[in-house]
Structure formats: structure tokens, C-alpha cells
Symmetry: C2
Subunit: 305 residues, 2 copies
């Protein structure tokens, strides 16, 4: 039996007669093929990527495993429809904190048709993409079993965060006091195990960066980094299973001998935000108040779900 995934933070969601991805109980994620060229483009990327022997193993691990396409009963009741069969990245994860970051200041490729270009450009200008080189597309932060999850107010407010607001969100993401209805500064209690160390988020991002400095095979437009970890594991001193994955390849193009400077630039900008949290721990303390307007821009009024 297929069901609607628990941990989806961005993109079209299934349910109430709408078309969206589904998961099964053995770790597979079924993503409906978008009817236009986006669906075909994503299939052809996964097919090319999964058979490309030039991609080193330490890079393939950042991509969902691909298991072809399959006709399954669509979530909108429209009958059997083709779906990408992918690895369910959140399978077997408990009380997961997750964030979706769309990388690149430009979400359109060089030879995009004029109307598509102007549509994307308008969105890139209206969101954080242009100033920051990336935009947060979604986030779900686990507070505690008592308060549950905390989610940003709405889809559009999280996409328009300023640099200071992104910093605050990335601190809250790894803080023990993030889900409380207080105006306390985030304590960044889990910054070190989640962002730091030889297997943490920063280290993984730097591996990905090194590949992007060299690879000229693919250009990834409108592609996201998913960042996730399990807070309760960190709370009891275990590894929080911090992980990044790349998702959404409907707008991947051939690199044609040039590096993906647009993705790389945005990735480096995101890396700088993460590394600043690790190198300036003094910014994380409970002794002063967070700016109210910033907090309100990020979070919903009721806080938890």
C-alpha cells in the first residue's frame, strides 16, 4: 500500500485529490512524472546519472537511488500513472528535522524560452535566490515529543528570508530551544554534532563543492539540497545521522565542458552560512532576545504542528 510521505517540506503534496509523491513501506518514493518535458527530463537525468561511471561513489551517495519508472495508482484518483521509483530518503528516520534549500541565484538555463526566463527571473528576484544565491523552500524542525514539529508560517515567507533570517533559521534548526514559544536566542546545542565534524553537514557540503569545482557533465537548475538529522539521537549523545541529499532534477542540462558556476556559487554561499555558525559560537546564546520581526517572518504564530 502506498501512502502520503510524512516528511515532505517542499513541492506539490499529495492528498485531498491532489497529485503528489507517495511512499511504500519498504523505502521507495514514487514521484509522479510531470506531464510536460520536465518529467521526461528528470527520467533522462536519472537514467544518465545512474549509469555514468565517471561519477565517484562518494558523490553518488548524495543522490537518491533510482529504480526506473513504474505505473502506480496516482494520488489524485486519476488512475494508473507513470512515476519515478526513487529511494525514500526519510525512510527509517524518527522525528526528523529537515530543510529544503534550492541552490543557485538563477533557476533558469542560458537558452530558456523568453516567457519561462522572465517567470523564473521574477521569482528569483522576489525571493532570497538573487541576493543569497539560494532560497529555503521548506523546513520542518522537530522540537520535542511534547511540542512536536515547528514549521515556517507559509511557503512564500520562507523563500524570502534575508541573510539575518536565514542565519537565525539555520541556528534554530540545530538548537534545543527552537520549538519553544520564547524569544530566547537559539542555543545551537547541536551545531557541533550536526554541522561540524568529519561526517557532519559542512564536511559533506565541502565534498559536494569539490566535485562541482571540477565536473562539467551536468548543470543543475532549480535543484535542491535536502539537509536532515535526528535531534533525539543528538540529545542522547549519539550520532544525529546528519545528511545532505540532492533532489529535483527536472531542470538539469548538459554541462558542455563548463562547470556549473551558478550552482557552485550558490552552494558556496550556503556553505559560508553553515561555517559561520560553527566558527562564531558566541552568536548562539540564551542571554539575549531575538528580533521579533525576524522570528515572526520565519515561523507561524502557533509554532508547533
Amino acid at each position: 500500500m502506498l501512502k502520503v510521505p510524512d516528511h515532505q517540506v517542499a513541492g506539490h503534496k499529495a492528498g485531498d485529490g491532489r497529485l503528489g509523491p507517495l511512499v511504500d513501506d519498504s523505502g521507495r518514493f514514487y514521484k509522479p512524472l510531470q506531464g510536460d518535458e520536465r518529467g521526461a527530463n528528470e527520467v533522462s537525468f536519472y537514467t544518465s546519472f545512474s549509469s555514468n561511471t565517471k561519477i565517484p561513489d562518494h558523490i553518488t551517495r548524495f543522490f537518491p537511488k533510482f529504480d526506473g519508472t513504474q505505473l502506480v495508482e496516482a494520488s489524485d484518483g486519476s488512475g494508473m500513472q507513470p512515476h519515478l521509483v526513487l529511494q525514500d530518503l526519510t525512510f527509517d528516520r524518527v522525528n526528523l528535522s529537515i530543510m529544503d534549500i534550492k541552490i543557485g541565484s538563477r533557476t533558469w538555463p542560458p537558452h530558456a524560452p523568453e516567457d519561462y526566463l522572465q517567470k523564473c527571473l521574477k521569482k528569483d528576484r522576489a525571493t532570497s535566490s538573487l541576493p543569497l544565491g539560494f532560497r529555503v523552500s521548506g523546513a520542518r524542525i522537530f522540537g520535542s515529543s511534547k511540542v512536536g514539529y515547528r514549521e515556517p508560517k507559509n511557503k512564500s515567507s520562507i523563500q524570502t528570508l534575508s541573510a539575518d533570517e536565514v542565519k537565525l533559521l539555520l541556528k534554530n534548526f540545530v538548537s534545543s530551544n527552537a520549538s519553544e514559544e520564547t524569544q530566547m536566542k537559539p542555543d545551537c546545542a547541536f551545531a557541533s554534532p550536526v554541522y561540524g565534524g568529519s561526517t557532519g553537514i559542512l564536511s559533506q557540503l565541502l565534498e559536494l563543492k569539490a566535485w562541482f569545482e571540477d565536473q562539467t557533465i551536468y548543470h543543475f537548475y532549480s535543484c535542491s539540497v535536502l539537509m536532515m538529522f535526528e535531534k533525539e539521537l543528538a540529545s542522547c549523545g549519539k550520532s544525529p545521522r546528519a545528511e545532505i541529499k540532492l533532489v529535483d532534477f527536472a531542470h538539469v542540462h548538459e554541462g558542455k565542458g563548463v562547470i556549473d558556476h551558478n550552482f557552485l556559487g550558490g552552494l558556496c554561499s550556503f556553505i559560508k552560512f553553515i561555517s559561520e555558525i560553527l566558527t562564531t559560537p558566541d552568536d548562539c546564546s540564551a542571554d539575549s532576545l531575538v528580533d521579533d520581526a525576524q522570528r515572526n517572518h520565519i515561523y507561524s504564530d502557533n509554532g508547533s504542528v
Copy 2:
């Protein structure tokens, strides 16, 4: 006495009653202040940068020295006009090969006015900027004392080079046979002393890159890397005095806590082109022919000046 510089490869040139930069005989470069906000913006950048104690010495060396502004007799005969007084980067250089590379796929800042944005975007799309993350703005390659210099056909053709054409130009730049009227492949005779080594171009670009991965003070739109060396020194086994400098700061903006992901992405793309020439020397040989169309796109028909 001020005179028109010998080695200018991009930008407005003085002479025949036109306004342009001038040099004196003691190593100073006089750049007319553009009358609109660009002139004021460039003065304010140089003033800020030259007094900023956070810029490390190994980075300040990549920028022209700044000596304030001064009223001097303008080259267009319009009388005494304000000029930036800068270091003449080509002073004391003999038979210089020089290239101007405008860095960044986007030459406009996030909050640019609509008409300026669309004007720049049109140019970025029509040139190499969007696909490559940079465009060559000018080049002057010294061949030999017999044939003199070789310059690209015209300003617009060099700005629209494809990835393959840029590779060929960057190889010709460091080849002993580049100025000959042959269809021989560039021999890359000086690739190693100019691009390689601990003091070569690649090493300098990587130092600059490391700073751009970290600095959040300035964003450099429409700024160029000048790359230069002296071929005759290399020919007799001396150091070719290979050097990069940053120029043109009329469109520098505050970084506001975010790295310059647009400049950094373009810089990384350019670095990849240079490093490929060093790592794949087999591509440089005299035993096969260069594609005629590529050669014609880059160079003027008469070859030398």
C-alpha cells in the same frame, strides 16, 4: 606629460578627441571619473578598500594602488576634469601579452532598476557571460618582435566566444606559435611558466578564490580580471612576470554579510579553463589543425597589428 596607454584592451579609449584614460611616465594611470553615479561609486570603492584593514596584504596586491582623485586635462579636450589616480599596471612592462576577463554570469546587482537590469541581461545572454560565467572583454597577444601583437577581430566577437573558442584563445595566449599565420595547433610552450607553478596565474587565481569564499564585504559586478605576462622573458628561461589584477569597480556594492556568489562562480569557471590547460598538455601540439571557423571567430584576418 600625459599620454594614451599602450596596453589598454577593453573599455573606452582616449584619442581622436575621445575621453579615455591617460598615463604619465612615473607609473600612474589617470582614469576619467564617469559623470554619473558610476564615477562616484568607483571613488567610494577605492576609498573604502584602500583604508580597510580587514583586507589581507596577499589580496590587496591584486588591486591597483589608489592615490586619490586629481583634476587633469581630459583627453577629449574638454579641459580640466576629475580623474582617479591609480597605479599603471602595465608600467615598465615590455612586449606585454594581456587579457581582460569580465567575471560573473550576471553583470547587474540584485536591486538594479528594471531598464538597467534588462539591458545588462540582454548583453549577458548575447555573450559568453551566461553560459561560461565570464566573458573575454579584450586581448592583445605578443607574437614576436617581427610580427608584433595579435588582437581579436573586434570587440563583440571576442565577447561571444564558445567554451571551445575560449580554450583555444587561452592556449594561444601562452603559445610560441600563436601569432603566425598558420593553422597549427597552439604549442602551449609557455603554459607551464605562465599558468603553472607556485607564482603562476593559476596559483594567484586560487588565492583570490579562497578570499572570495570568505569575504562578505563587497560584491563585484561587471569587474574584470586582467591577466598579463611577458613572453620574451619566458622565451629566454626567465620568469615571465605572470600576474593577475582586478580592475573596474564602478559597480561594486556592499556584500551585507553574504559572499559574492556571482563573482565566485564565474571565477571558478575561469579557473577550470586554466587548470585544464595545465592538466591536459596533450591537447597542445603542433601535429594537427585547428578548426578554421574557431580561429576566424577569434582573430582578425591580418593577424598582427
